[in-house]
């Protein structure tokens, strides 16, 4: 069977939920960030697949992907700055040690 939009949507759904699983189970901030990257990538794949198979006459999906990549890069940089700052003050990047704001 020739791969089409359903195959690509299956792959991106599977990647999305792999990322969600990682986000639920991991307790280390860097590995949680990795799960978020997987989720964002599955969304990009989805946009490109829709652009190619459903609206080939427009380029909206492509531009959404480009902007998502740019925003994801900014997000990763800010997240890693926060993680390093947290490590400096708590000597750990486990989410369960960072509960100073918990009431």
């Amino acid at each position: 069977m020739e791969p089409g939009i359903y195959h690509l949507l299956f792959i991106s759904t599977a990647l999305f939920f792999i990322g969600v699983f990682g986000f639920f189970t991991r307790r280390n901030l860097i590995t949680m960030l990795m799960s978020i990257e997987l989720i964002l990538n599955s969304v990009n794949l989805n946009f490109i697949a829709f652009n190619k198979y459903v609206w080939p006459g427009k380029m909206d999906g492509l531009f959404f992907s480009i902007f998502i990549i740019a925003i994801a890069a900014a997000e990763a940089a800010v997240a890693i700055a926060i993680i390093i700052n947290l490590y400096r003050s708590h000597q750990s990047i486990n989410v369960e040690t960072a509960e100073d704001l918990k009431f």
Binding site: P3, I18, F24, N44, K58, A70, A74, I80
Partner: protein, 172 residues
């Protein structure tokens, strides 16, 4: 079963295998390397769909930028050779259950929907077409989002410096 189909299934095998390994392995450095291969697999999908520009952007930004940044932060924050603590059985079990239910729900919805392709002529995603469209101000061009994203990147850059800067204790 032609060559393109075989390449597609190989790519999906690579991406999903390394994606699962990246979220389940207990050695954090290996998780970063598996994530790298999963991102390369996604770039391969973009090449497979003949979106070369976005595949190149994916490799440059994710593989060359974000994964290297993650590896550096692992070096800065982890003790070498230390494994991540084992997860509680109940937590991973319930996560797997929730993820499986969500996956099944989504995939059933997707398979029930029939996507009707647009019949207008396809625009080929060359760099020329992308650049023209991105800098266009008329005809629903993308000049304004481009500007907004540039300001966002500048703000993120300054924000990173402000957050990560090391405040020396004031001595008088």
């Amino acid at each position: 079963m032609n060559g393109s189909t075989i390449v597609f299934y190989l790519l999906s095998l690579l991406t999903l295998t390394f994606g699962i390994l990246a979220v389940t392995t207990r050695q954090i450095f290996r998780a970063a390397i598996y994530l790298l291969f999963a991102l390369i697999g996604i770039a391969g999908f973009y090449f497979w769909m003949a979106y070369e520009f976005i595949a190149a952007v994916q490799i440059v930004v994710y593989v060359g930028g974000i994964v290297v940044l993650i590896i550096f932060s692992i070096f800065l924050t982890q003790q070498t050779g230390e494994e991540l603590p084992k997860q509680k059985m109940g937590r991973s079990l319930f996560s797997a259950l929730a993820v499986f239910c969500g996956f099944a729900l989504t995939i059933v919805q997707v398979l029930q929907h029939s996507f009707k392709g647009d019949t207008t002529e396809a625009i080929s995603p060359t760099v020329f077409n992308i650049g023209t469209k991105m800098l266009e101000v008329n005809n629903s061009g993308y000049a304004l989002p481009f500007e907004v994203v540039s300001i966002l990147l500048l703000a993120a850059l300054i924000g990173c410096i402000v957050i990560a800067i090391h405040n020396k204790p004031v001595t008088k």
